[in-house]
């Protein structure tokens, strides 16, 4: 073991840690002791928390795709946000809006919703499989920087491809009356759509966990993630397993695409960028490569984005604190990369590379 030297950079980092803890505590004190900003009730805090969970489930669903692909290829698939966009936009323009115009959507909301989910997933999966086959597979074995740059290229390709298809103006998404408004639960009121998003995401994530742990294909994915040569020697078709991994990640992005559309109800060809980067942040937070990590990281990021501004940014006297949730997200990314690159429950990146 090399003896740890205590140098200036360590001191700066320690200082940074205390500064951050200080700022957060200062903000919380400002809020609760000095009463700066709006005086929220307990019900308000629960509302923030639930809307954070809803947003966080979307991050989690997208983050799972990043983390699974990283698991098998050690590659950050920066085009993953575009898989999400492709499914969402296509399902909106080609399925949801026509169904709505025909009056079918409100008359048969559940059947319509199933059609929308399936089409979104189908498009996301197709785009992912094409990207993997054409842009990534030929570069297998190339230095790690090469597929990373290719992924950024693929990302731009799909953005402008869908801009060409659907134009650059905002596409509206129809409102589902059955998910509109609020619902009372435990004496509190919640947005129906938030509950719908959280429940759907939980179902999808539990299904994924069962799939990866219990099925033959799931076991093949875990084997390929660990040791490709050994997996090949077991008779596993590694390329096919990698394609399957992309497809599973993309199908979850497709689900997230529909949920996103239902919550925000307007989309365009660059809608994948911010959720993509946030989901990447969530995956890193949870420890990239770890499936439970990505789920937890997403939920954590969503909640901290929703609760952080009212909790400690307002208390610092910052006006319009709720607009700063992106600042919180990306500050988290930087802090995690500095202080805990292995993420909340992940293993060290450096060890995995070795």
């Amino acid at each position: 073991m090399k003896r740890k030297r205590f140098n200036y950079i360590d001191m700066v980092l320690v200082g940074l840690r205390f500064a951050i803890i200080g700022v957060v505590l200062w903000g919380i004190a400002g809020k609760f002791i000095f009463g700066i900003g709006v005086d929220y009730t307990a019900a308000d805090w629960i509302t923030f928390f639930v809307s954070g969970l809803s947003q966080g489930s979307l991050y989690a669903l997208i983050a799972l795709g990043y983390t699974m692909v990283y698991g098998v290829l050690f590659m950050i698939n920066f085009a993953h946000g575009e898989f999400f966009m492709a499914g969402s936009m296509s399902a909106a323009v080609l399925v949801a809006l026509p169904l709505d115009n025909a009056g079918y959507l409100q008359a048969y909301p559940i059947i319509s919703l199933c059609a929308i989910f399936l089409s979104s997933m189908a498009v996301s999966v197709s785009v992912a499989i094409m990207t993997e086959r054409v842009a990534y597979r030929p570069l297998r074995g190339a230095p790690r920087l090469v597929p990373l740059i290719t992924a950024i290229g693929a990302s731009f390709f799909w953005q402008y491809f869908f801009r060409g298809l659907f134009g650059s103006s905002l596409v509206p998404f129809p409102k589902f009356e059955i998910f509109d408004g609020k619902v009372g639960l435990f004496g509190l009121e919640f947005q129906k759509i938030d509950i719908m998003v959280i429940v759907t995401s939980i179902i999808v994530m539990v299904a994924l966990q069962l799939f990866v742990q219990r099925t033959r294909t799931g076991r093949a994915i875990r084997a390929v993630a660990e040791n490709k040569d050994a997996a090949t020697l077991m008779g596993i078709d590694v390329n096919r397993t990698i394609t399957t991994t992309f497809a599973i990640g993309a199908s979850m992005a497709g689900v997230a695409g529909v949920l996103y559309a239902m919550v925000f109800r307007q989309m365009n060809f660059i809608m994948g960028f911010i959720p993509g980067v946030k989901a990447f942040t969530a995956a890193v937070l949870g420890g990239i490569g770890s499936i439970p990590g990505a789920a937890l990281g997403g939920l954590f990021l969503g909640v901290i984005e929703a609760i952080g501004p009212p909790l400690f940014l307002e208390g610092l006297g910052i006006p319009g604190a709720h607009q700063l949730k992106d600042v919180i997200a990306f500050t988290m990314l930087v802090l995690v990369l500095i202080f805990r690159p292995q993420g909340i429950i992940g293993e060290k990146l450096a060890e995995k590379k070795a």
């Binding site: 076991r219 875990r222 090949t232 020697l233 077991m234 596993i236």
Partner: protein, 237 residues
């Protein structure tokens, strides 16, 4: 017809000419060993046979069929199985899941279960640790797992790459006893070893590989008494 026939294979890593015309045969029921020093090309030979490396020249015949055209994963159902160098167990899978991976191409659930039980009979330690993650076991236990896992595919030919590497002498004995036992039950084995002493004791025939070329081949008994082999690989002057 020999079970395995390797004819004049030339394998490369980029421009490095690692195998310069290796030829060997393995008859059904034999243990054949391939010995040689570090970097001689033993691993490259096995990786070429199992399809992980494609030779630029030469061919590999298994049961008379040229198998170079197959992807490596497609060779497993044909009956070629390998215990890779460094064991290659899946550290984050349990012992039992590792064994199930070995049977990946099989569909006979009952047969797979039976074979898993047989693995535990061969190495009771594996049975005791079946729900443990493979990565938490000792090197010797991992080697037992790697060997039994390779058998789970019901191969006709077992390729083993330095199964004694890094093991304490007691465990080396245990693994070699298992090799003899597996062979007695009818398995054909191509055994790569740096531990020439042990390998020549269990093998019927042997080949000596030096910088990518076979320099000697004979019955194992003859090689054991060959002065050059004794000097170079058995530490006898």
């Amino acid at each position: 017809m020999a079970l395995l026939e390797v004819n004049d294979i030339h394998s490369y890593y980029g421009n490095i000419h690692a195998l310069k015309g290796v030829a060997l045969t393995v008859e059904e029921g034999e243990i054949v060993t391939l010995i040689g020093g570090n970097g001689a090309g033993k691993t490259t030979t096995l990786r070429t046979i199992s399809g992980l490396i494609r030779p630029r020249q030469g061919n590999v015949k298994f049961q008379g069929e040229d198998i170079i055209k197959y992807a490596p994963h497609a060779l497993v159902p044909k009956g070629v199985s390998m215990v890779p160098e460094g064991r290659g167990v899946f550290a984050k899978l349990t012992v039992e899941e590792n064994l199930e991976m070995g049977a990946f191409h099989r569909n006979d659930r009952a047969g797979i279960k039976e074979d898993i039980e047989k693995s535990y009979e061969m190495f009771p330690r594996l049975g005791e640790r079946k729900t443990q993650l493979a990565g938490t076991m000792s090197g010797g236990e991992q080697q037992m797992l790697a060997v039994t896992r390779a058998l789970m595919s019901k191969p006709k030919l077992l390729l083993m790459d330095e199964p004694s590497m890094g093991l304490a002498p007691v465990l080396v004995d245990l693994i070699f006893d298992a090799i003899i036992e597996i062979n007695k039950q009818g398995m054909t084995i191509l055994l790569v070893e740096q531990n020439a002493h042990m390998a020549l004791q269990v093998a019927n025939r042997g080949y000596v590989l030096q910088t990518g070329e076979i320099v000697l081949s004979d019955d194992a008994k003859v090689l054991q008494n060959d002065p050059t082999v004794q000097k170079a690989y058995l530490g006898i002057d």
